[in-house]
Subunit: 281 residues, 3 copies
């Protein structure tokens, strides 16, 4: 059975861009199984794209190829990456969007596409394929998702040798993400993602949160308590705020049946503070 390809982008679903990429993929690999992670990452938001990928890749079968096209530098000199990890593979631009997931996946071997050799390999592998021939004839400077990333994934999933079209690369770009701090009695972190329900996801891991500690959100100059850790949304009354460990294993601030982002007027980058029971007096 052909491996699974996941597809994450900031293309949105209003235009035909996602469909064009899938057309190229289906033209290269007839039996391909494509699963969308999301295409509604805010345009060019690398942190949100990284968060989506890093939270999802781990739920896919071994061998899955994860394609990410959040590529504000399309057509400039940035590399196109192919990364092999222990259990899965990644394709995307070298702008940091792949780094968190690729590092978490373990033992990442980083490669950069060699455009000239890739063009030759495509010609050989897909000789007579009218879709690939069209891409080779008229590549765009603004849609590498369709014209380079998709045929690269097609080439790899069709069994093409990665070594033929890439060169090894030592490092990849990483995002400058906020880093939480864990000190005795006092932990600080940030809201790193706001989901569609309005839950405020922080970068504080579950292991850092003592159930008796009090959680505060710092936003717009205000510091507000959201109480101690709860089990689930239904542990508080409808409309009330709460702190809990979310499905990503991170501290989240939510509202039962509502949006914490709205209720607390809080969002990406806002501070979160945890004060141990022993420190409060």
């Amino acid at each position: 059975m052909d491996p699974v390809l996941t597809f994450t982008s900031d293309f949105g679903l209003h235009d035909s861009y996602v469909g064009q990429v899938k057309g190229v993929l289906a033209s290269c690999v007839p039996g391909i199984r494509i699963v969308d992670i999301t295409h509604q990452v805010d345009a060019g938001n690398l942190a949100a794209g990284s968060f989506a990928l890093a939270g999802a890749y781990t739920y896919f079968p071994a061998g899955t190829l994860h394609l990410v096209v959040i590529d504000p530098g399309v057509g400039t000199e940035r590399d196109i990456l192919y990364i092999e990890s222990t259990s899965c593979r990644f394709v995307g631009p070298d702008n940091g969007v792949l780094a968190e997931a690729a590092e978490a996946a373990g033992a990442a071997r980083i490669h950069a596409l060699d455009l000239e050799r890739f063009t030759g390999a495509l010609r050989d592998t897909f000789a007579g394929n009218p879709v690939v021939e069209q891409l080779l004839r008229e590549p765009s400077t603004t849609f590498h998702g369709r014209d380079l990333f998709a045929p690269l994934c097609g080439y790899l999933l069709a069994g093409g040798d990665p070594g033929r079209v890439t060169r090894p690369k030592k490092n990849m770009h990483k995002l400058d993400l906020p880093v939480p701090e864990h000190k005795p009695g006092r932990t600080t972190g940030q809201v790193v993602y706001v989901d569609g329900f309005g839950n405020l996801v922080t970068n504080i891991p579950a292991g850092w949160v003592d159930p008796r500690s009090e959680v505060f959100i710092v936003s717009g100059g205000h510091v507000r308590s959201v109480g101690t850790l709860q089990h689930t949304y239904g542990s508080v009354e409808r409309g009330e705020t709460l702190a809990l460990i979310g499905s990503r294993g991170l501290l989240e601030i939510g509202v039962n049946g509502g949006s914490a982002a709205s209720v607390l007027s809080a969002g990406y980058g806002d501070g979160v503070l945890i004060i141990a029971e022993t420190e409060r007096s």
Copy 2:
């Protein structure tokens, strides 16, 4: 060929939640065919989720498994249901969202997940599957769609015995939906769904609507006639309101080329009145 699974949720498409669930499903059942019904049910809106499912399940092949994750009570004591009907199967929370479809599908046999036996069955069935092992190791309290519903569907579609992981259950929760009334000369009902075009779908079945009767909408203290039954949108001028039998076999109020919800400032729960020709004087 593997059976079809349909997937309905209120997750939206902005986050990676839908992708995570599909990853688990693909990890359990490589050849699975997943069809999205919708993921844009308003957060926690059980009536809208029920409407979406009940209107769609009937168009799928026999044996289809319908997964619904609209689950505001996630992590609380509510049961997780597995329902077998004559032609298809359902998995979802016991909060009423499955009831309308499951009853319409006929001869529903209701079962509740037995969490302890389910955990054991998962360990046996998917021994060595890293995705399932990860779920068993770190289940969340807020995302049962990924951590319980998806592996349950995977277990069932992989041929697992439902009896091993569930216990029979007499009843399921039902939604307290508005009920239309059909009296000689006068029928009353409610708007039970507003679709993306702004059509106002009522709970009045086609068989109750005499073509010569006049249809009224009652909203915001106003009673407005939308005339007698028309054949289709194009039967009236652009921008005009009309009453017609929609694709669900229910009375709908629409606007040709526009949104009845906007034009009439009407929405969910508003009253609809049908007065027979003989009653008007």
Copy 3:
């Protein structure tokens, strides 16, 4: 392997309409591979639907069947078309939405559905199929996408003879789209599509644009220069407007890291002017 079907509509993703159509397709052709182009075409916008299809169909494998359901005249007398071109096939309403793609695909042979013969052929081909039998029993007047287009695609992909259910037709409706003009030193065109990023796509082909010419946008009574042709978004500073050749091979006006539609308050139908270097003094 079963052929690919692409699906373009204005149904949106909020309701279950897309899912209902896919259910019928899966009921007719178990192994069907469906790729969504987009379902977020603005309601009834034939020009936008035509643009989506014409920009995407060319990236799909030979033999692909392209289904388009943007059908404001549903239930009226308009024909349902089946078009065969050199490399692919189309199904949709005869309202112009298919014309641009079908003509570009070459050698289009146009057919109209013969409803009576189609009904008979469905009964034969899908005898015992409960989904098709339900459609035949209770066809709607407002959802031909589900009740006629989908089973027609199912019939064709299941190997049914097109000649049995259609009659040849000389012409199809075409859209009255704006036409660009190319004169020595001066080219005029229009914005024909605004994509989800806010890029203004024009109807001026790449071959008409001399790299030294200056590009102007005319909107709201203002004429503004966007400079000469750039290579890609990153060729200008963030927030700056630019002219470039987009992924469709057409002149586009964009903003690096932003929305040209917002920055320039411009949209569909606005004028675009290209003045050759030799004409500026």
